[in-house]
Amino acid sequence: MILSKDVSIFFWDKGNGISHSRRSKLLQYLWQGPFQMYIFRCFCLNVKNFKSRYSSCFNIYSSHLRFISNSKKHVPNLVKKRRKYITSITGFSHNTKNLQFSTDAEKKENDKEYVQEVGKESPKKFNFKKNVNSKPNSLMWKEQKIDYKDLPALYLSLAKSRLTDLFTCLIELNIIFPSVRQSWNFKSGKFRLGLVAMTAMAGYIMGDSAFDPSTFLLCSLGTALISCSANSINQFFEVPFDSQMNRTQNRVLVRGRLTPLHAVIFGVTCGLSGLSLLHFGVNGLTAFLGMTNLVLYTCIYTPLKRFSIFNTWVGAIVGAIPPIMGWTGCTGSLNVGAFILGGILFAWQFPHFNALSWNLRPDYSRAGYRMMSVTNPGLCRRTTLRFSASLIALSILAPVLDVTTWTFAFDSLPLNLYLTYLAWKFYKKSDSQNSRKLFRFSLIHLPLLLTLMIISRASKPKEEKEKVEL
């Protein structure tokens, strides 16, 4: 019933540019309640400037009035009786400051429930909805036309590129494709690596066999392409659910920037090209693992998110496979080392994802996703603690099984201990601040752990043979 947002849209069209001007605030207040709207209409009809400037209001207002009349409320004939009611208008003479009207930002500050949920620190981070509505472009009718300049940016966002591609960090640093970066909205200080490609590279470097740069590149590119395709097909499946959540409102298919067929064709071509790269350039086993990863993510994980909390475990497997792919790309077979790498990543997914999902509980429940943080918060806390503690055990197990030297066990202890400390804090008092700390640290923790692992890699058997011969 409340049309305050709709009114403000048409005010932007007149060139205001500011979403919360006094005029729009006043009118937002006045829209509340049929009686006040009735007065406003009377007022407008008798003021020439108002009529010319806010002509678009009338259409909304008339339609709204008809809605009221349809809902069995008496609305007298305005044309005849308007002059009588003008004298009773007093609201306009008052100072607008006295009137109580709340914008979205004010509401959120005053809404204790929201503040408790989301946290007082850095409220800007969670104001995704405000971000969408403050841009007039996102609230206007747009034609669904392909603009070839926008395509690379759209494809990257389809692929959730900050997750997949390592070279998007180059874009973020303005080294390549500066136009693409301008189309993105993010703070210049942030630096997010493509996690999936990074884990695959780490897996390759850790592999037992010799390092071949061409297969290394092909392996990483192949995994990146597969994750691109998985993400785009996931977005195709989840259009109505993404539109309900603040975090995902700006996605390509939700906004209608591309047709679903376009996105699916992009996903399929990426997937096929990635798989063929892996099969012909690297290994049959790596290609097979890539295919299983793709199928797991698109056909099992995305529907399962709506039915049971087991999706987190499946998602953890999906995250654990890329380093194994890197390992098999190097060696061509599965070893204990591969499983340790996979195990480390499997364990890492839990503190990472549970911390992330804790702050998004209202959105998840509204959209109908069944996550541990919503349905079983106790289990959520326990699993984060368990798996972050198991990371310590795994990193000690690595040198025992000759995957790394013993320096890794000592290097990684402080990292893992700090992670478990944060998980312990989250376990004891699970609120938004602790979860955010844990999430942020998990983003730093993984690359550091992988670099430490690479540094203290156990020497490969070929290198040992060469040493003996000399």
Binding site: I60, R66, F237, V264, P303, S365, R366, V374
Partner: protein
């Protein structure tokens, strides 16, 4: 329910399709006459569109309650059978989605408000009206559990419709490439 300004716009789009359409199927005729005129009304909530509508599909601002962006579908002269089916399917899915999500979001917000009122009555006026995260999490869990069946039914239906849309769009592309009726 619409004002006169808005009706003209919609009629323009409806009339072009009806005038030049050559039906091949009885079911198609039925669908066109009953569905196409009403679907646009429902999704646009009787608002005026400030953009001059050209020969493309238009995506609009998100629906108030349903948060889904409604589309205005362009129907050109000499539309093939597949294209009409595709357009109708998209219109139907859009209507269905919007009705479902508006109803669903009403449920979600209505119960929340009720809870807040319930707890606010116990507090004195000086204390702030708020619900702790734990109480809200209980509500979230109960909401999800209550709606599990509806969600699962919706999911199945959504997947079916989505794949049908995709298949039709794919066939249309093939039709254009090979310039043959499929």
């Amino acid at each position: 329910m619409l004002s006169l300004n808005t009706v003209n716009l919609y009629l323009r789009f409806v009339c072009t399709c009806n005038s030049s359409f050559r039906p091949l199927n009885k079911t198609v005729i039925k669908n066109l006459s009953s569905k196409s005129s009403t679907s646009v009304k429902n999704t646009n909530q009787g608002k005026k569109i400030d953009v001059k509508l050209g020969k493309y599909d238009y995506v609009g601002p998100p629906h108030e309650k349903a948060n889904i962006r409604p589309l205005i579908f362009y129907c050109h002269d000499r539309e093939t059978r597949l294209e009409t089916l595709y357009r109708q399917n998209r219109e139907e899915t859009q209507d269905w989605n919007i009705t479902f999500w508006s109803h669903h979001n009403e449920k979600a917000s209505f119960v929340k408000k009720k809870l807040q009122e319930k707890y606010a009555n116990n507090y004195s006026s000086s204390e702030p009206k708020s619900l702790t995260a734990e109480e809200m999490s209980v509500f979230y869990k109960s909401f999800l559990d209550e709606n599990l069946r509806t969600h699962s039914q919706y999911n199945k239906e959504w997947y079916k419709r989505n794949f049908k849309n995709l298949y039709l769009a794919f066939l249309i592309v093939l039709e254009k490439i090979f310039k043959r009726k499929l």
